[in-house]
Amino acid sequence: MTILVTGGSGSGKSLLAEQLSFKLKRDPFYYLATMQVWDEECKRRIARHRKQRAGKGFQTVETPTGLKEAATDLKPGGTALLDCISNLTANEQFEAKVYDPAQTVIDGVLAVQERMANLVIVTNEVCSDILPTDEQTLAYLRYIGAVNCELAKAADVVVEVCSGVPIIWKGEKLYYEIMA
């Protein structure tokens, strides 16, 4: 079972994704974290997040870049929550500077999907604004758009969250079965 959760900033999509993960919980129960470690402040924040999630039963794996390679270290058959695609894409584009960030992220996510029984993916709605004028940022939006379209095809359920309210784009029946 693969679920893609999208929505604007602060819409409650991470919370819904977490709820969906619990409904689909299996061992191993992974949280794939995507935040890039920049400095001590990041380290402290990440340590705090890891601790919070450990209390919820998650085993955190840091995957800011190179998700495809990291996937081979995951024990198969579990449930994973991946948060989020916009971080992953930015990291691949601006940090790892890979040739095709969109394809790199897609390949990474599909590799995780293949190993897991269940995967919940959080992405971000960032393409509904006036377009940026610099080509790098515009390319970033194109990459995220391409990743989202591809992952929506690969997902059984696609849900957009607006003010905490789910709007089901794909797999409505499945969604309500899971949440029941």
């Binding site: 893609l4 999208t6 604007g8 992405t123 709605e125 960032v126 393409c127 509904s128 604004d129 006036i130 377009l131 939006l141 194109r142 995220i144 758009g145 391409a146 989202n148 379209c149 591809e150 992952l151 929506a152 095809k153 696609v158 957009e160 709007i167 784009w169 794909k170």
Partner: protein, 131 residues
Amino acid sequence: MRLIIGGYAQGRLAYVMERYSLTEEDVWDAAKEPISKWKSQRVIYHAESLVSGWLSEGVNPCEACGELLPQWKDTILITQEVGCGLVPVTAKQREWREAVGRFNTYLAANAQTVDRICCGLSMRIKGKAEE
């Protein structure tokens, strides 16, 4: 008239091409030419770009568009959602963004169906599914 709306890079054109079995010749791109060059192609892509031309001529986009509506009975307009971010820094951008919002609203009010596209998926937000 049908309206397709959604964010940048969400697969709006691909959706239209597949759903209505169209080819490249059916698509006219408003970002590349002025509206006078439109030759009744079935699809008007980047409809939000029409607003730029009208604003630069000092014409109200909704009024200009109103004159074209009779010719658009069988046309599919693909437009972009541009109003879900921060308020733009320049006055010109603010004017454009506001005008596009009004223009999209006007189009939607006059459209038989409105499909919203997100992540390559569609949702009919106006009109019946079978229309």
